[in-house]
């Protein structure tokens, strides 16, 4: 079981009468790209917050990177990276300052930060822009940089919340190249997206509907199971029946 980096068992989160996450169970293996799909309000964000150590579940069990979501939230946070579409980097800091800041937050030494940031800036082709404010970069670059910063401290797992929203098609693919690369290096990728073609890039996907996991399998198996040609249709068939939509 040591290669399971996320384990959820009957994980539940209730807000009053409202069951946002309803007994969800799944495992995610090391180095897996795990797609987490669902309609607006299906409970994705709530579940992701619990797994990131930002909120407590109401019942059920879950461990992330081997740490308990009830008792070891601080340890979880040290071992994961997080990136969302909405907030990722400080726009009024330069590229290097952002890297230094986030490296510092995760307790890397100055020498280590310098070594890694040189490498990162070169890899992203941002040498010219290293001292520019992040706010002045095009969206696609920002998102690529944000992802690099999220895995800068070599986390075991990286959580990506709609990382490619609004990004141009080429950059979107370059972004996924980075995801593949991270996964190949052993980082587990937990990703949500509204682009159904991106769902196909995942090793396995779950589709949440009304707080429950309605499907969990490889994209190929899911398409076969529903007898359709694309993930788009799989998703449509599953989510169409959704009753609630509290977003």
């Amino acid at each position: 079981m040591s290669d399971k980096v996320i384990i959820c068992e009957a994980l539940t989160k209730q807000f009053g009468d409202f069951v946002a996450v309803n007994h969800i169970s799944f495992d995610v293996g090391k180095g897996e790209i795990f797609g987490f799909l669902g309609a607006n309000g299906a409970g994705k964000t709530t579940a992701m917050r619990i797994l990131c150590g930002l909120s407590y579940p109401s019942s059920g069990k879950a461990t992330v990177a081997g740490f308990d979501v009830y008792k070891q939230q601080e340890s979880i946070k040290k071992n994961i990276g997080y990136m969302s579409q909405k907030f990722s980097l400080y726009e009024n800091l330069t590229v290097l300052e952002n890297i230094e800041f986030f490296g510092g937050v995760y307790g890397l030494s100055s020498a280590e930060i310098r070594r890694r940031s040189d490498r990162l800036v070169n890899k992203l082709g941002l040498t010219q822009e290293a001292k520019k404010l992040v706010g002045a970069l095009p969206l696609g670059w920002k998102q690529k940089l944000a992802f690099s910063v999220a895995i800068f401290h070599d986390p075991q797992i990286v959580f990506l919340d709609e990382p490619t929203g609004g990004v141009d098609p080429i950059t979107r693919r370059q972004f996924w190249d980075m995801i593949y690369e991270a996964a190949a290096a052993g980082i587990t990728v937990f990703v949500t997206t509204h682009y159904m073609d991106e769902a196909e890039y995942c090793n396995r996907i779950t589709v949440m509907v009304d707080g429950k996991v309605e499907a969990l399998d490889t994209p190929g198996h899911l398409k076969a199971k529903f007898g359709v040609g694309s993930m788009d249709e799989v998703f449509y068939q599953l989510a169409r029946g959704a009753k609630r939509s509290a977003d």
Partner: protein, 309 residues
């Protein structure tokens, strides 16, 4: 008459430092469902704001229903409906209060043009006493559309109405747009989702402030200059890596479970030999088929052409 005309429009920000719209010209016919397709930062919102008289262009002229966007801004404001990119309703007002407010603002009533919004409004009516802030993404979007339609505009501008909305709601939304089109309203809609382009009558592909192509979706696809193949193996990432090193391959991009590939020798690629070379590199379960391109393929190709110029 054309409902919307943009004539060499240029718009910059920060005293000319940021070029948002670069010499854009296009026309939208009355009654057309027209799509502006492009990623964030392509200049879509700037174009909408110029057309809705919210921004002044640096250069060029624009008109809506024959009225100039700068001089006749008052007339345009009376006759267009606009749904900005962000959810722009009062979260602390109820569904009914929002709709009533916007109806009155446009000097009309909900009942006056009820026919137009009936189909959409009936869906959110059960929640009419709920605060707008407590609605789901899809519902908010329907309410926003009702508010933009309540005064029966002649031209409807929708800036990224489906961003951040799940696939099911997106599908429903496009069905609503098709119904509206049948009632004679000209609709200009923007989206970063390339698959939605197929649902428009004509589209403009826009990137970095420039229009790359304006045509019907079918024509955009038909003018894709080379043959396109979809390739699939047991491991996409490994496939991509080896395709990039492959001298025979001109371009390769992941599309779902396939990789879309074009060859340098477009006229007569030796597919059989090529497939064997893949197998020799250790790829398993190889599948290669000729396919017709999607809008996204065209978009990527145009982007690359633009960069190489």
């Amino acid at each position: 008459m054309n409902a919307v005309v943009l004539d060499h429009i240029t718009k910059t920000y920060d005293a000319g430092k940021v070029l948002a719209v670069d010499d854009v010209s296009l026309e939208v016919a009355a009654g057309e469902l027209f799509g502006l397709i492009g990623p964030d930062g392509a200049g879509k919102t700037s174009l909408f704001r110029i057309l809705t008289t919210l921004l002044l262009p640096d250069k060029g002229t624009a008109s809506v229903n024959g009225k100039d966007c700068v001089k006749d801004y008052k007339a345009i404001r009376r006759s267009v409906g606009y749904m900005p990119g962000r959810f722009s309703l009062y979260q602390d007002l109820t569904v009914a209060e929002n709709l009533h407010f916007f109806a009155t603002l446009f000097g009309t009533t909900i009942d006056a043009n009820y026919d137009l919004i009936r189909d959409i409004y009936e869906q959110i009516k059960p929640f009419s006493d709920r605060r707008a802030g407590k609605l789901s993404g899809g519902m908010k979007q329907k309410l926003a559309l009702c508010c933009a339609l309540v005064h029966k505009p002649e031209v409807l501008f929708l800036d990224e109405p489906t961003t951040g909305v799940d696939a099911v709601s997106r599908k429903e939304f496009w069905e609503m747009l098709r119904t509206l089109k049948q009632q004679g309203i000209t609709i200009v809609v923007s989206t970063p989702y390339m698959d939605e382009a197929m649902l428009c009558e004509r589209i403009a592909l826009i990137q970095e402030g420039k229009i790359m192509s304006v045509d019907t979706p079918a024509n955009v696809i038909a003018t894709f200059p080379v043959k396109l193949y979809a390739v699939k193996t047991d491991n996409i990432y490994r496939l991509l890596t080896s395709l990039r090193e492959d001298a025979a391959v001109d371009s390769c991009y992941a599309f779902g479970e396939y990789v879309h590939v074009t060859f340098r020798d477009d006229a007569a690629p030796d597919l059989r030999a090529w497939q064997q070379s893949l197998a020799a590199k250790g790829h398993g379960r190889i599948e290669v088929k000729a396919i017709s391109p999607t809008i996204e393929d065209s978009f990527i190709r145009l982007m690359n052409e633009k960069q190489n110029v």
